[in-house]
């Protein structure tokens, strides 16, 4: 046991320093694979979306390279979403506690956390983010493949005028969710970022934000 580092412990394990493992190594690797591929597609995609953001194509190595890489990285993003889905599908399913959380969303947003009912591993807001990304990625994949080689299906010429804005609209939906996700992960929920990077959170953090999960993990 002593050879095992804290970073490789299973979910719910208590580290020698008294913290609890929130996300395993595999979960964090998956999350950041999603994160990096998404941000690449976000920057290069925004470059093609607005002339005022064309400079963002530098992320992909310039406009021509960005046009070539965006679809490839997009496919990897989708594969990362599928990987995450195999891990978190059940945990992201709706449960009765979610409605209680939604009823108290005003208290949650205004940081009156004492009024918010205890939550499992993921609260209803996290689940909503997950499903926006999951279905958004699916729409982006289907429309994106059509936009990748429009010369291969010239017969769909008329349909492409709907496919292109649909791709942009799906991307905008994920961007809205993404802005909130990044804000909450980095600024709003102190300690959350450590959970998804080094993998552990304090027991107090776990009890405060995800009491049902904490109780389940420590009961065994």
């Amino acid at each position: 046991m002593s050879t095992q580092t804290a970073a490789a412990l299973p979910e719910g394990a208590i580290t020698p320093s008294g913290e609890i493992v929130r996300y395993t190594y595999k979960e964090r690797l998956c999350h950041w694979t999603n994160g990096v591929t998404y941000v690449f597609c976000l920057c290069t995609g925004l470059a093609f979306y607005s002339p005022y953001l064309y400079w963002l194509s530098v992320v992909g190595g310039g406009p021509m390279a960005a046009r070539m890489l965006h679809p490839w990285v997009g496919v990897f993003f989708y594969l990362a979403v599928v990987w995450m889905h195999t891990m978190w599908k059940q945990q992201m399913a709706s449960i009765p506690e979610d409605q209680q959380w939604k009823d108290k969303i005003k208290d949650y947003v205004e940081n009156n956390d004492d009024a918010v009912p205890p939550q499992g591993r993921f609260n209803a807001g996290q689940k909503l983010f997950y499903w926006v990304m999951y279905y958004g990625a699916l729409v982006l994949l289907i429309t994106g493949i059509l936009m990748w080689f429009p010369e291969k299906w010239r017969g769909l010429h008329g349909i492409m005028s709907v496919v292109n804005p649909l791709h942009a609209a799906a991307a905008l939906a994920t961007i809205g969710a993404f802005i909130i996700h990044v804000y909450m992960g980095i600024l709003m929920v102190s300690g959350g970022f450590e959970g998804i990077t080094k993998g552990t959170v304090t027991k107090e953090w776990a009890q405060h934000h995800h009491r049902l999960w904490y109780d389940k993990m420590t009961r065994r």
Binding site: A47, F48, Y49, S50, P51, Y52, Y54, P63, M64, A66, R67, M68, V109, E110, N111, D113, M147, P150, E151, R154, H157, G158, M160, S161, V162, N164, P165, A168, A169, L172, I175, G176, I179, I180, Y183, L187, M188, V189, S190, G191, T202, K203, E204, W205, Q207, H208, H209
Partner: protein, 292 residues
Amino acid sequence: MPNENLTVKAISGHPGALGSGAAPEASYEVCKLIDTTTCIGCKACEVACLEWNGYEFRETTFDNTYQTMPDTEWNYWNLIRFSEHENSDGTLSWLMRKDQCMHCADPGCLEACPADGAIVQYENGIVDFNEEHCIGCQYCVTGCPFNIPRLNPSTKKVFKCSLCSDRVGAGLEPACVKSCPTGCLHFGSKEDMKFEAEKRATQLRKNGFEHAGVYDPAGVGGTHVIYVLHDADDPEKYSGLPANPTVPIMVRFWKHPLKWLGNVAMLLGVAGVMTHYLRFGPKEVDAKEAKR
């Protein structure tokens, strides 16, 4: 590079003001007039186009019609389309239409293009592709109501007829016009070409072609390539010349309301979360929580 002899009117994917806009040329709108009623289908214009633009002649196909080249290509911008059209009275019309970029006053390609400087519209009406800046996304293909732009699969750049902007900038007529042996092609100011076209259409109507007319579709703001047709009531029979071409409505939606709403929503989203932080701050965990 945009042609320095021509004044720029619009640039694709371009934020802010245009370039210098200073050019020596007196900017009147130019126009190519194609009189389909005097075209003999000799394809001299196709060869002249290839020669001037430096492309090789392509292998021909044979399907028992005069259509020895099935379609335009990235390096074959100009094609006579032959149509053996059966009229309602049982007679046959052998229709020939020189097909190439129409140089719309309201170009859907430029509307859709995200690449700064890849498509330029000049004050004289020519819509030119600058492959140097093309990223190969082919949004222009989606925006074009005439299905004109073609991708070079090896360079991933899109090409189309330039209306010989290089020749026009130097005071010459396009190569196709120069080569036409029957005088069915004319080049000049839009005003003059419209006048000539209407004169010819009037003459045709007097000579029994009662539906003869000029094709200069208003849906794309008019074009800088116009046709005289024997039957202007049914342009579709000229190998699919669209009756009422317009930039697709969803391309307009994508490039205007969706773009501006999206930009505003993204800005409001970022401003919203920052304001939330200022108003409510981070969620701090009470250290005594565990003992509660």
